[in-house]
Symmetry: none
Subunit: 135 residues, 4 copies
Amino acid sequence: MLVHLNFKSGVPVYLQIVAQVKDSAASGALRPGDPLPSVRALAEELRVNRNTIAKAYAELETQGVLELRQGSGCFLKANGTSPLRRAVRSERLATELDSVIVQAHHLQIGDDELRALLEERLTDFRERQRQRAEN
Amino acid sequence: MLVHLNFKSGVPVYLQIVAQVKDSAASGALRPGDPLPSVRALAEELRVNRNTIAKAYAELETQGVLELRQGSGCFLKANGTSPLRRAVRSERLATELDSVIVQAHHLQIGDDELRALLEERLTDFRERQRQRAEN
Amino acid sequence: MLVHLNFKSGVPVYLQIVAQVKDSAASGALRPGDPLPSVRALAEELRVNRNTIAKAYAELETQGVLELRQGSGCFLKANGTSPLRRAVRSERLATELDSVIVQAHHLQIGDDELRALLEERLTDFRERQRQRAEN
Amino acid sequence: MLVHLNFKSGVPVYLQIVAQVKDSAASGALRPGDPLPSVRALAEELRVNRNTIAKAYAELETQGVLELRQGSGCFLKANGTSPLRRAVRSERLATELDSVIVQAHHLQIGDDELRALLEERLTDFRERQRQRAEN
DNA sequence: GTGGTCTAGACCACC
DNA sequence: GTGGTCTAGACCACG
């Protein structure tokens, strides 16, 4: 699992988690039957209260995205949301990219610098993924 | 002024206003020196309390986007007035980029596709700016 | 915490609180990481509305003096975290110095006497800091 | 006349004017019978509404500091405030200097830089005085 | 008319 | 318990 939280966006943390799990399910990154991290594990990873994770998982369960099985953990349900077409997935990202571009304008950051920053963060991200895989 | 609010998103109303004014300023829909609707007028238009608008405008003032003058009103500031250090500005954008990268990961969108999408949105943004400039 | 309010001065209450917290932080009466009274507690102590305290604390957060954590409270940040550009910082201080110079002019206090007074207050300030450090 | 306004201090502008005129009178910088600038002249100089100046002058008149003579202008009254002793005058400035020092601490501006900044502003001030005298 | 401050009291998200 | 947001309505300073 890989969740990135923004504590200052005003979006409730548990909804950020819900959205990211649903995205993973819709895109096929998570497949039916896949296990999710336990509440306490994810809470520790994200440095967030367990109640917050529990709330997100509960919300995901009522939405039929996952299934909580007592004692054995938490799994992605088979009849999840219908997988998103490639175009739809791009569209979602485009909205966020637009917001980044506006922000760059106000911070007086030019296009080239923005591209360079993207490369930097991508490299950083891949590095973190590798470390995660080794553990 | 064109501000559209989503009361169900969970995003604070005042932050929605901040984002949309910044967007208008960045795209050129609003130009430096342009007056914005008065606190009272916008509050009435959006059917929101005066204090909520005041909070949004105050936030925009601290971000250097607009200038509030007692008794006279509210005006768009010239760009290039960000009071932040360069390093801080990059850092802020990096946080947003990280969030985009994680979402791309959840949506199973690869690095190359992400780069291409950024170029597409940048082109689009510059195009919109040019159109505004011509009017 | 020791905050004293003057309701007749015409200075907004929330700014009086901001100034006094900054003073405590600068002199060492408050140390990095120290918890501040909760919004509710300080509001009750000062017999002021909760919103007023919240506004003061929010201002102090944007100035990099404290950190507000949802559900956990309010803590003094380490110094050296001013998010402003060096040039902007000098400019802010210059404005205050100009005001001092004009007041000196009105009080018929010459440049040399002003310099001497600055040295006296600086010595005094460093002395107070040292005393705090020893405790 | 030389008045320096701080529009963001939260202190009403008219009270800032009142205080500075009273200081000049108390220190002897202004003497009984001295003329003050007309309402409209001072309003123009300070880029402030004439009502604001009128309010300050009215306040000063009720406090017995000055006298408004119809058609001929505005003059400092003879039985003004008692002149301040040197020690008292220094004390007033000390309070403002303390606030500057605290501000410098938060802006991470060291003692030497502060001294340099004071010299710069003093030079600037004397320069402006000379220009004023030439007109 | 403008924005700024403050109060009183409500509801929410989070620990 | 914590801080964050929002409403409703009051008063002030300023143009």
